[in-house]
């Protein structure tokens, strides 16, 4: 029973890793993340100015 669960877990983990790789490697993701990073730079500048 435990062995079966271990195998199932490994398969599940493998699937979600593959899906995560597919999701996070689409070409647009890089631009998306760059924009988000820029947004947070701006956000922290704002917080500093408010403090």
């Amino acid at each position: 029973m435990k062995r079966k669960r271990d195998i199932l877990f490994l398969i599940y983990l493998l699937v979600i890793i593959v899906l995560a790789v597919i999701y996070f490697t689409v070409p647009e993701r890089r631009m998306f993340l760059e924009d988000q990073i820029e947004r947070y730079r701006e956000f922290f500048r704002l917080v500093r100015s408010l403090v």
Partner: protein, 648 residues
């Protein structure tokens, strides 16, 4: 005073229903009574507004408040005689303690919950800081609200433009809830936070479903919270849209149709499902689809229990008499209440337009049953979508090949939790449930998946938010199954953090937040906001929008003479002026109509016929009005528009 009346009327409304449902605590869990309270309060709001707006044509603040205070007081007096308030307080205290204990006992869950609380505070802060800015909100959701508030009546309005026709046709339950957020406060400040309440109700609902199908409470909390960590839900929580509301009502109705095994009577739960389904039916034109799928799956479930093919239902089969009784119960407590509560809009359309779902044409095997204007969705799908097969469309959108999230994005919205965790979890749970005969989960999955498949344009995430409920439920079940695997929880937390940090609207930038924090509340308008999603089309309208907001007072009547980009900015922020479209073939006829409408302000396009009429009259000092003292005074002018004051 406005804030006080809003607080009192809401406090009594929600308290009365919560206490009433307390009497049904043997049939309904604590969480179901919370969502039940929300549903019954919403039903009271909608029905009292319909009563005042349709029958009496007196949908104004005082009658609405008096009626609701009256209803709530009667319920409270009746209930307080029958229950001990101390027991209620003890129950709330015990439930909160239990919840805190569960969350504190799991570090990852505690972190997810902390992120959730921070996000809620942030959304409320943005809701307070920024005015309603979303496209459909300004285009028709809020104008529907404005028209009803100004006339005190829920009725058909003249429809000179296509959007007016749609505003007449759309079911309006959620707009009635928007009215509730404006009419007491005399401000549109929090109206676009209305859907946040639905999002919170969605969390409770997913949690409750999970508990009912046997998921441990800790993992049920995971499910509930994960439902919220969806970009489209986070962004629409501050948007005057109806998509989250519609999907959450659907989930609530399903939740009330899933009965705990230990309860003796299912009537209160089924009745709450009926009330919810009625609210859902009257919230969007796609309402009938939800009702039909729910009813069909219920029918199928009961027939399977009766026929018991392949001996599927061990010890839970029903005989013919029971089957009749159960189906009768659904008819009486589910279907009839739902049609009574939500059917009005369709009957009204049938009477006015000869088609309950006008302008959609309904035909069966080339036979037209209800004549309409078109057979599908009028808005064309993007080319990239049209080139793909139905499955490819879903994958394309779920991969979110976009640079940013938006409250109505057609190419994104479900986030990584859906793609990475929900899809494999759903597959896992479906296979496992089929093998183990977990019919509770299969019933829920069947309703949601069938509705998802049948829903037109199901690739558009905002139309099918309900499917996220199934995903979140499945993740909770998988986390429970692999409960000893910390890595899975860490992956979940990582995706939660990613979603929380990236579900930002580019329409609300940190720079704007900083700017708005320093502005006095009266200056925080849409013009100052200048969101990118409307900037290109709306910037030339900004001048008169601001002028109207700052200068048109309660009781004034603003007449417009052309099709504006958005109608909502023609109302001042408190929705206390009237907005009327007046067009005529001749100057005299136009003047007469202006007088009939009691026009005080006239908004015209420069160089339009009305502008020329007014300019001509100003030039001829002695107006041609037969001695009547009628004068137009120019109050506002820009490159494209003018506003005149009409002195009678």
């Amino acid at each position: 005073m406005n804030i006080l009346s809003y607080i009192i009327v809401n406090l009594l409304l929600y308290t009365s229903w919560f206490l009433l449902l307390f009497r049904k605590r043997k049939a309904l869990s604590f969480v179901d009574r919370l969502t039940g309270t929300f549903v019954l309060a919403l039903a009271q709001i909608v029905l009292t507004e319909m009563l005042l707006g349709i029958i009496f044509r007196r949908l104004h603040m005082i009658p609405l408040m008096a009626l609701n205070l009256g209803i709530s007081s009667v319920i409270l007096i009746a209930v307080l005689r029958a229950i001990d308030v101390k027991t209620v307080i003890n129950e709330i205290r015990d439930e909160v303690r239990g919840l805190v204990r569960l969350i504190r006992g799991d570090v990852i869950l505690l972190l997810v919950f902390t992120v959730f609380v921070i996000l809620i505070v942030y959304i409320v802060f943005l809701g307070y800081l920024f005015p309603p800015y979303t496209w459909d909100g300004l285009w028709y959701h809020l104008p529907i609200v404005g028209r009803i508030i100004q006339s005190g009546a829920i009725q058909e309005y003249p429809a000179p433009f296509m959007i007016d026709q749609f505003m007449n046709i759309f079911p309006k339950n959620i707009e009635l809830f928007f009215i509730w957020q404006i009419i007491f406060l005399k401000s549109d400040l929090i109206v676009d936070l209305s859907q946040l309440l639905f999002a919170l109700a969605g969390i409770l609902t997913v949690y409750s479903i999970a508990v009912k199908i046997g998921v441990d409470r800790r993992y049920a909390i995971y499910s509930g919270l994960l439902f919220f960590f969806t970009p489209i839900i986070i962004l629409q929580s501050k948007a005057a849209y109806v998509d989250v509301a519609v999907s959450v009502l659907f989930l609530i109705a399903i939740n009330f149709l899933v009965h705990r095994r230990d309860v003796k009577t299912t009537t209160p739960s089924t009745l709450l499902a009926g009330v919810t389904a009625g609210l859902l039916l009257g919230s969007k034109g796609s309402g009938p689809l939800f009702l039909i799928t729910m009813s069909t799956v219920i029918l199928l479930r009961e027939l399977l229990r009766y026929l018991n093919p392949f001996k599927l239902f061990h010890g839970r089969v029903v005989d013919r008499r029971e089957l009749k009784g159960r189906l009768g119960g659904y008819l009486l407590y589910f279907l009839i209440p739902s049609i009574l509560i939500g059917g009005y809009w369709y009957i009204k359309n049938w009477v006015f337009y000869g088609n309950p779902v006008y302008p959609m044409e309904i035909s069966l095997m080339n036979v037209i049953i209800f004549k309409g204007l078109y057979g599908g969705i009028i808005d064309p799908a993007p080319d990239v979508i049209l080139r793909l097969s139905p499955l490819e469309r879903l994958i394309y959108v779920w991969l979110e090949r976009v640079r940013y999230y938006l409250y109505d994005s057609r190419f994104s919205g479900f986030g990584p939790i859906w793609f990475v965790l929900s899809l494999p979890s759903m597959t896992f749970c479906l296979i496992r449930s089929m093998r183990r005969g977990r019919f509770g989960f299969l019933f829920i999955a069947m309703v949601l998946i069938v509705t998802f498949i049948l829903y037109p344009r199901n690739w558009n995430t905002r139309y099918v938010i309900f499917i996220i409920g199934l995903g979140a439920l499945s993740i909770g079940m998988v986390l429970e199954y692999f409960s000893d695997r910390m890595i899975l929880k860490i992956i979940t937390l990582s995706l939660v953090l990613y979603t929380a940090l990236t579900s930002n609207s580019p329409a609300i930038t940190p720079e704007k937040i900083g700017e708005f924090v320093h502005l006095p509340p009266s200056k925080r308008d849409i013009v100052e906001h200048d969101p990118f999603n409307i900037h290109l089309q709306a910037r030339q309208e900004y001048g008169y929008w601001r002028w109207i907001r700052e200068n048109v007072s309660g009781g004034d009547t603003l007449v417009y003479t052309f099709e504006p980009l958005f109608l909502a900015p023609l109302w001042n922020g408190s929705y206390t002026n009237r907005v009327v479209y007046v067009k005529a073939g001749s100057y005299d006829e136009w003047l007469k109509r202006l007088e009939d409408e009691g026009a005080t302000h006239i908004l015209v396009r420069r160089r339009s016929i009305e502008d020329r009429w007014i300019r001509d009259e100003s030039l001829s000092q002695d107006s041609l009005s037969g001695g009547r003292s009628r004068r137009f005074t120019l109050l506002y002018s820009d490159e494209n528009y003018r506003i005149y004051r009409l002195v009678h």
